[in-house]
Amino acid sequence: MIIVKDLSVERLDKRIFENINLSLASSDITILKGNNGSGKTTLLKTILNIIEPSVGSIYWKGKLLKKNLYDFYSNVTYIADRTSSLTRLTVKDNINIWKKIFLSNINDSQIETALKTLRLENYLNQKVGRLSLGETKKLELLRLIIENKKLWILDEPLSNLDEHSIELIKQTFEDHCSKDGSIIFSSHQNPGIYVTEEINL
């Protein structure tokens, strides 16, 4: 689905990375590895067309991604490295807002089971600002199910999670791939998630 050719990015006149090539078909999982500051987040944002690359081009379904931007966006879920839930609202409000703005056709019982497997079912009426770090992260990952898109672009989805949740993520990833979805994610650890390609930055 995505082909990245000879990508180089500069920020503040500093070259972050050079000549990155990547191709992602459906059912593929790509992991980005690399030291702190090697440009994983930057690469993900470049793929999302938020950062302009200085050299190189990105293709989506055979066409230049830039020409086809909103089609691309309607197929992608991006979860950033910092959480984006609205800390002053409750968990329930956040979920409702997401369900609405993403026009999600997921039904309530699905969300309930998801919350239960994530062990968040008791926090529905708690302010997000009062969740623990890992709980916030898990809540954020719920967006994967709510948005229900083909391509997942995830920045450090595994950090701050306990083993149980990581196992859950692993299963969700496999599930997604078996349904022709594809995933790019960055991580410093990889506790046994099967990946098709590993890119070292």
Partner: protein, 223 residues
């Protein structure tokens, strides 16, 4: 249809957010009334003077208190990444700017509009002037929302000096004030002045999406 739904739910989201930030709006309104009180005290009980400058005071205070809420315009959504999520959800930056401006108008300026009748009573502004005030203010405040959008999106790029944005908004709103006050004092010219105000509104409204959109794009790129 789908797009329309998205727009509706954008406003739903803004509504939820603003409701939890309802404090700010109320603070503005309270500020407004306390300042009116201050003016009444410093002028003394002379009713004529009060009703003479009442309209002016209302306008100046409206302007100042709408600069109060400027900082929240994009800042929060920018910092917690929601701006990006909304963009990925299919809205171009320019369009986000339009929606945000409208929701600022709806959720921040309109509540203010409601406090004008009370201010008119306190300040002895006559009923016929009240109508002009409301007309000119509703136009002027939409213009202010547009200007606010531009300046606060510019402020995202400039981490330092958030007052600069307010100052720029205020400078640009000087002509708006002059014309709006003009409307109230010279009643025969009402139509032509309203037209001018409307013209300014149209220009600013047309510039807003591209100026704000550009600033939003650039600031996300540099974040």
């Amino acid at each position: 249809m789908k797009f329309l739904n998205k727009i509706i739910f954008f406003f739903y989201r803004e509504y939820k957010l603003n409701l939890s930030g309802f404090q700010d709006i109320l603070t503005n309104i309270i500020f407004f009334f306390v300042s009116i009180l201050i003016f009444i005290f410093s002028i003394g009980p002379d009713e004529e003077v009060i009703s003479l400058i009442g309209v002016g005071i209302v306008w100046a205070l409206l302007l100042l208190s709408s600069t109060l809420s400027l900082k929240k315009f994009y800042q929060d959504d920018f910092e917690n990444g929601n701006l990006l999520i909304i963009h990925l959800n299919g809205f171009s930056f320019g369009f986000i700017a339009i929606l945000k401006t409208i929701s600022h108008f709806l959720f921040v300026q309109i509540p203010f509009l409601l406090s004008i009748p009370i201010a008119c009573i306190i300040l002895n502004i006559s009923d016929d002037k009240f109508f002009y005030l409301l007309t000119s203010f509703s136009m002027g405040s939409l213009t202010l929302s547009c200007l606010g959008s531009i300046s606060s999106s510019m402020n995202l790029m400039n981490h330092r000096n958030y007052l600069l944005g307010s100052v720029i908004v205020m400078i640009f709103s000087v002509p708006i004030i002059i014309f709006s006050i003009g409307i109230i004092n010279i009643e025969q010219n009402f139509n032509s002045l309203i037209n001018i105000l409307f013209g300014i509104l149209l220009i600013v409204f047309a510039i807003n999406p591209w100026a704000s959109g550009l600033c939003l794009k650039l600031s996300l790129e540099n974040n």
